[in-house]
């Protein structure tokens, strides 16, 4: 079996498993899986920016928050149907991300990281601002009506939300994959690897960078919207700087510049804190840190890099020139 065929079989198997799991797992596990899928969408968005375009963002928790609040406000205050709020959240985040990307163009590497860090620390406080309290609910936050299943006899509410998130994730993966394998993807990576050469070749680096920021924010905003539906509640405490850090950790653990590894990264940031808490309640973050270090020593290029290395070994004969 060639590598390509193995990949297709592997993906098909993953798809079958993903669709079968909610019918055998408990509803809590379905909920937890949905959380992982939602985080995977956010990580995918961040990875477009960081992995493929070389712009580091420590502030994607802010876009996640904007997406979540957009859904919460539209549902609670305006009365939109829940499904309509998700694309609106994505569109709004695209706009905000694009606009934030414009001034951020002047900033590179660690300077951009700091600017986005500022975004992440500001957002929870902005959500508490008095003038906006009528909409955001201030410190108290907003309750979000959990969507019921339109096919109640077949799927319960948890399963429905799982398939909805899975469907959105699948769609967004396809879009990202399509975007990255062609001209646009090459342009993004050229800007990452050598911005001057990229500009010389006629790539409008400013436009591409801002657009990437927008698309990245859009993905994360969609994830935030789904996350709000899932948690049933948004509040400033839900979107602290730690969320942004989790996203970066997820991207690195899953594999920078890999779109397949994000599912793994999302599982890592969702499950490892629980594991750490089981081991020690005195210092859960020390355990988390130790696991993270062990992980990075074992798989320095993330889960995706590890998987690629394994695949290379397994299929060495078929693929390499003799």
């Amino acid at each position: 079996m060639s590598r390509g065929a193995a990949k297709i079989v592997g993906l098909a198997a993953l798809g079958v498993v993903a669709c079968a799991v909610p019918f055998v797992a408990s509803s809590f596990h379905v909920f937890q899986l949905t959380q992982i899928v939602v985080y995977a969408i956010a990580l995918l968005g961040l990875n477009l920016l960081t992995g493929f375009n070389g712009q580091i963002s420590l502030g994607h928790g802010a876009f996640y928050a904007i997406g979540a609040y957009t859904t919460a406000i539209l549902l609670d205050k305006v009365g939109f149907p829940y499904w309509a709020t998700v694309p609106i959240a994505g569109a709004l985040c695209f706009g905000v991300g694009f606009l934030f990307g414009l001034p951020a163009l002047r900033l590179e590497g660690p300077y951009l990281a700091l600017a986005t860090f500022a975004l992440a620390v500001t957002t929870p406080q902005l959500l508490k601002v008095n003038a906006l309290e009528r909409w955001t609910g201030g410190v108290q936050g907003l309750l979000v009506e959990k969507p019921g299943s339109p096919i109640g006899g077949v799927l319960d509410a948890d399963q429905w939300l799982y398939f909805l998130s899975l469907g959105v994730a699948f769609g967004l993966y396809l879009v990202a994959w399509n975007l990255l394998r062609g001209r646009t993807g090459r342009a993004l990576m050229a800007i990452r690897d050598h911005p001057i050469a990229a500009a010389t070749m006629g790539i409008d680096t400013a436009l591409y960078k801002s657009l990437t920021f927008g698309v990245s924010a859009c993905y994360t905003g969609v994830a935030g919207a789904l996350g709000a539906l899932l948690a049933g509640f948004v509040s400033p405490d839900s979107f602290t700087i730690l969320l942004s850090i989790h996203f970066i950790v997820g991207v690195v653990v899953g594999g920078i510049a890999s779109i397949g590894g994000m599912l793994f990264g999302a599982a890592f940031v969702t499950l490892v804190p629980n594991l750490a808490d089981r081991i020690s309640q005195a210092a859960p973050w020390a355990i988390y840190g130790a696991v993270l270090i062990a992980f990075m020593i074992l798989m320095p290029t993330g889960a995706a890099g590890f998987a690629r290395a394994v695949a290379r070994r397994l299929f060495r004969g078929g693929n390499q020139p003799i």
Binding site: G153, S238, N274, P284
Partner: protein, 397 residues
């Protein structure tokens, strides 16, 4: 629509039948209960409450448990992040199969899981927050608070001023959020019609403000003689210092949240803190008046045996002891009917429970229409070393 409704009704019916028969987490030898605690994150200082409670249940279990059942507290970390609390609460209810939730900590985390627990009809007992909204038997019959709410505390201050200093001009400095606003509501309830004439100024601050200096100065300028400060520790310390520095000497009531000697009064300056008044409901482990108190000796013996390495100056352990005692009383009252309905019914049927760690004269009372177990406090004044209690126990009901 009709189909969905039938489905929901069917599920509810099934759930009802199931819970009447046997409660999840309850066997002949065990009662499994769940809890989320901030063992990590911004509120991790409160994590000791969960540890104190686990230790208390260990003591109960070693002496045979309750009606032969041991208490198995599964306490998990939520890092004070509401989405994590939702995840953990669902895990506890659906995967671990706990009978009920006990002492989940924090206003936002509890808000996040309240609706879910109501829908599942899982008791959310004795939530660890002073927000008044958790004592609402009509709206949320499965949720109950424990400590005197901010609103009750504020009512007590208002009534005291009304009775003892009817000529006082009152002003309020409050944090501009639910916590601070609960104090305004309580004060309005206590003063009634007189609010408009007695309260000369309200000033608020944002948690993001660097200082509250200008608010304090403007409050002094209003001619106020009785200041009620509803502030969290950092701002409380700033307020105490500023009030002293500008030579203002109002009757100063300080929120019970911010009376730690180590965290508030020492940073503000203990000499500047003399005269601060607050309402207390639990015995202070550092108060020399309780050095030979039988109730506190009981607590000290417990700490020595079950938490030998813990800091016995930390009042959170006293709190944990008090809440855990209350829960044990509820479970004793339940007898062998440990259905979720009966657990809630007995929690709402506490008839004057006296806690060994609570201020003498206070007692816990609940009823189907009163979901605020603790609603009494005694005022205490800081004398430069510790808080000295004075006057009778006051009720905020």
């Amino acid at each position: 629509m009709a189909r969905t409704a039938t489905f929901v009704a069917l599920v509810a019916l099934l759930a009802g039948v199931a819970s009447a028969k046997d409660t999840p987490g309850v066997t002949a030898t065990e009662i499994k209960i769940g809890q989320t605690m901030p063992y990590s994150g911004p509120a991790s200082a409160y994590g000791v409450i969960g540890k104190g409670e686990a230790a208390y249940f260990k003591m109960i279990n070693e002496s045979g448990g309750i009606n032969g059942r041991k208490i198995n507290l599964i306490s998990v970390d939520d890092g004070y992040s509401p989405p994590k609390t939702v995840e953990q609460a669902r895990k506890l209810v659906e995967s671990e199969g706990v009978a009920f939730m006990f002492q989940t900590l924090g206003t936002a985390p509890n808000t996040a899981i309240q609706k879910y627990l109501q829908q599942k009809q899982v008791p959310q007992l004795f939530v660890a927050t002073g927000a008044d909204k958790f004592g609402d038997p009509k709206g949320n019959p499965w949720t109950m608070g424990w400590q005197p709410s901010y609103r009750i505390e504020s009512r007590i201050y208002g009534r005291y001023v009304l009775k003892e200093k009817p000529d006082a001009k009152i002003c309020v400095l409050y944090q501009n959020d639910d916590f601070g606003k609960d104090y305004l509501i309580g004060l309005k309830e206590a003063l009634g019609d007189k609010y408009a004439t007695m309260v000369v100024k309200e000033a608020s601050y944002e948690v993001t403000d660097p200082t509250i200096d200008s608010q304090v100065v403007s409050l002094q300028g209003s001619g106020c003689t009785a200041l009620i400060t509803a502030a969290t520790p950092k701002f409380a310390a700033q307020t105490i210092r500023k009030v002293f520095d500008i030579g203002w000497k109002p009757l100063h009531f300080m929120s019970n949240v911010s009376i730690s000697v180590a965290a508030v009064l020492q940073p503000a300056g203990v000499d500047k803190s003399v005269g601060i008044i607050t309402g207390i409901y639990l015995k202070d482990p550092n108060d020399p008046a309780f050095k030979d108190d039988p109730g506190m000796n009981e607590w000290r013996a417990f700490m020595k045996k079950y938490m030998p390495d813990a800091d016995t100056n930390d009042a959170n352990y006293v709190y944990a002891y008090g809440v855990a005692t209350t829960l044990v009383q509820v479970l004793k009252q339940c007898g062998n009917d440990l259905s979720r309905e009966n657990i809630m019914k007995q929690a709402a049927n506490l008839q004057g429970l006296k806690l060994s760690v609570a201020i003498p004269g206070t007692e816990i009372r609940t009823s189907p229409s009163d979901y605020r177990p603790f609603s009494q406090m005694q005022l205490a004044r800081f004398n430069g070393k510790s808080f000295e209690r004075f006057g009778p126990v006051l009720s905020g009901d």
